[in-house]
């Protein structure tokens, strides 16, 4: 074995490394899929197995992921809305069509910016917290302790976090839609002298339920990605505090990358 390896050419070693990395990646994706499946299993079948997902845990997670994120989502939503209005008016003024800026803002906020900004925010806030929490619990043998107490760790730790994200991220996204459109409306009314009521009339004239659902549908996918990536990284922690720091960073980077990639694929498949 060792002689064979010693004789390997650098190219063969590189190919071997690519193969190994691919295997690790595939096994991580498989692990994430099994986490989703197990969480759903315990959410729906837990009661019959004597291990229901506790509503108290679910509400606690919803509070942490959703309610406590409202102020920062509001701040970012209104800022992004205003920024879109500033850029939109500047661009449309080139064609003398700034009065039509509302259409662009409405579609951009609802279909793209609100879900994306909310997803990235939740990934940085709750995804990292989830990875760190699971990582520390792993190091302290708290996950093992759950298992030996007859408490399924996925049911106890993962399912409430996943369900809370799937419920709260679309809610936050809808909130961000409204706040973003409001922020844009304030700027548009100040810059173009249009009343807020007329601005909202235009928004409702152009926006369809499908557009809102497009953004909310994406946000559900983002929620699932954030939760499973956070848990998978936390569960794979090695070493002490340094390991927890690494998996937390990794979870945030992977979540944001996955969100952006999914966003593009979703837009490509649904919008064309």
């Amino acid at each position: 074995m060792s002689e064979q390896e010693a004789e390997q050419s650098p190219v063969a070693k590189k190919i071997e490394n690519v193969g190994r990395t691919t295997m690790v990646g595939v096994s991580e994706i498989g692990y994430c899929a099994s986490l989703i499946w197990e969480s759903l299993y315990w959410a729906f079948m837990g009661k019959s197995m004597g291990q229901p997902v506790r509503l108290q845990s679910l509400f606690a997670q919803m509070m942490e992921t959703g309610i406590r994120a409202i102020p920062i989502v509001a701040m970012l939503g209104i800022t992004v809305g205003m920024m879109l209005a500033i850029q939109g008016i500047y661009t449309m003024r080139i064609f003398g069509a700034e009065s039509h800026v509302t259409i662009g803002i409405a579609f951009s906020v609802v279909r793209e910016f609100a879900p994306l900004i909310t997803g990235i925010l939740v990934a940085g806030r709750s995804g990292s917290a989830l990875a760190a929490r699971i990582g520390i619990m792993n190091i302290n043998q708290e996950v093992d302790a759950l298992s030996v107490m007859g408490i399924n760790p996925v049911r106890f730790l993962v399912a409430p976090a996943l369900l809370a994200m799937v419920i709260m991220v679309p809610c936050l996204t809808f909130f961000s839609d409204v706040i973003g459109l409001l922020g844009a409306g304030i700027y548009v009314s100040l810059d173009l002298g249009v009343s807020l009521a007329a601005y909202w009339d235009q928004v409702f004239e152009w926006l369809r339920v499908d557009d809102v659902m497009h953004g909310l549908g994406k946000s559900v996918l983002f929620a699932i990605l954030i939760a499973v990536i956070g848990v998978a990284n936390g569960a794979g922690v090695r070493g002490g505090a340094e390991g927890v720091g690494k998996v937390t960073t990794r979870a945030v980077v992977q979540s944001i990358s996955a969100i952006v990639l999914t966003d593009m694929l979703f837009a490509f498949m649904v919008t064309r």
Binding site: M1, M49, G50, M137, N140, V148, G150, I151
Partner: protein, 279 residues
């Protein structure tokens, strides 16, 4: 209460039966065909040097790992044959006090102790409070239920972990390095607690430790592991009087010079022996 004699002990039913257990981490074999048993009401101490496989054996006894081969019966149930529901049902009958306590840092001591009751029973809050306080009395931690784990000392943490481990009145109790990191007085108190639990509640107890004093004080029998093999399973007295050089070296903390294989040494230095273990 005096320790049971070996004959008395071996007449009792087995609560743990391990037959030819082989386990691997990656390609490295850790346990190389372990066979042992633990009897009802027995305190079995598992000892061995670093890397002997005692922690791995404990994880298998707690059914936290899957073996490569071999069979293991816990309270009469073959672990390999159990479905998910039965595995969780079986785990309600065992308690584990982990080395670092493994108490949930987000909960108070009382909440930690009540967790198994909350998850597995329909008891009301008042009854759970009473039961938690009763277990805290057993481990001499009465009145500490409202503190968080971070507010406890090392010895108190371990006793709180014992209180959580016995809240469901398990038939089988596992201790992972109970004396590690404790001063001799606190370690001796914990040894007394282990003996008291066995005598008062009739539990079978498995203790993994490398503390010789503690092991000889509490053990009915000792399993001595070495490099994944069992060197000897016997009473502390017979262990002490064993003429096995390896056992005497471990008991008397004598360093053994390993016979040096030049090729293996070279492979270790160049890291070649680890290349095939990469994931």
């Amino acid at each position: 209460m005096t320790k049971p004699t070996e004959t008395e002990l071996l007449a009792r039913p087995k609560v743990i039966e391990v037959e030819d257990l082989v386990t691997h981490y990656g390609e490295r074999m850790i346990l190389k065909g372990i066979s042992m048993d633990v009897r009802e009401g027995e305190i079995m101490v598992i000892m061995g040097g670093s890397g002997s496989g005692k922690s791995t054996l404990l994880r298998h006894l707690m059914s936290l790992e899957h073996a490569t081969s071999g069979t293991m019966k816990l309270l009469g149930n073959n672990i390999a044959d159990l479905g998910l529901k039965d595995t969780y049902a079986l785990r309600k009958k065992i308690g584990v006090a982990f080395q670092g306590g493994a108490l949930f840092s987000s909960m108070t001591v009382g909440e930690n102790i009540k967790l198994p009751l909350r998850e597995h029973t329909d008891l009301d809050e008042f009854t759970m409070d009473i039961m938690a306080r009763m277990k805290l009395e057993v481990v001499d931690l009465a009145g500490f239920e409202d503190l968080t784990p971070s507010e406890l000392s090392g010895g108190m943490l371990k006793r709180a972990a014992v209180a959580r481990a016995i809240i469901m009145d398990p038939k089988l109790l596992f201790f992972d390095e109970p004396s590690a990191g404790l001063d001799p007085v606190v370690a001796a108190q914990l040894d007394e607690l282990i003996l008291r639990l066995r005598d008062a509640m009739g539990m079978s107890i498995v203790v993994v430790t490398h503390e010789l004093d503690s092991a000889f004080r509490i053990a009915d029998r000792i399993t001595m592991l070495d490099h994944g093999n069992i060197l000897m399973i016997d009473t502390p007295e017979k262990m002490k009087n064993s003429d096995n050089t390896r056992i005497q070296n471990l008991l008397n903390r004598r360093i053994e010079e390993e016979e040096l294989d030049p090729d293996a040494y070279l492979r270790r230095l160049t890291g070649e022996d680890r290349q095939h273990e990469r994931p």
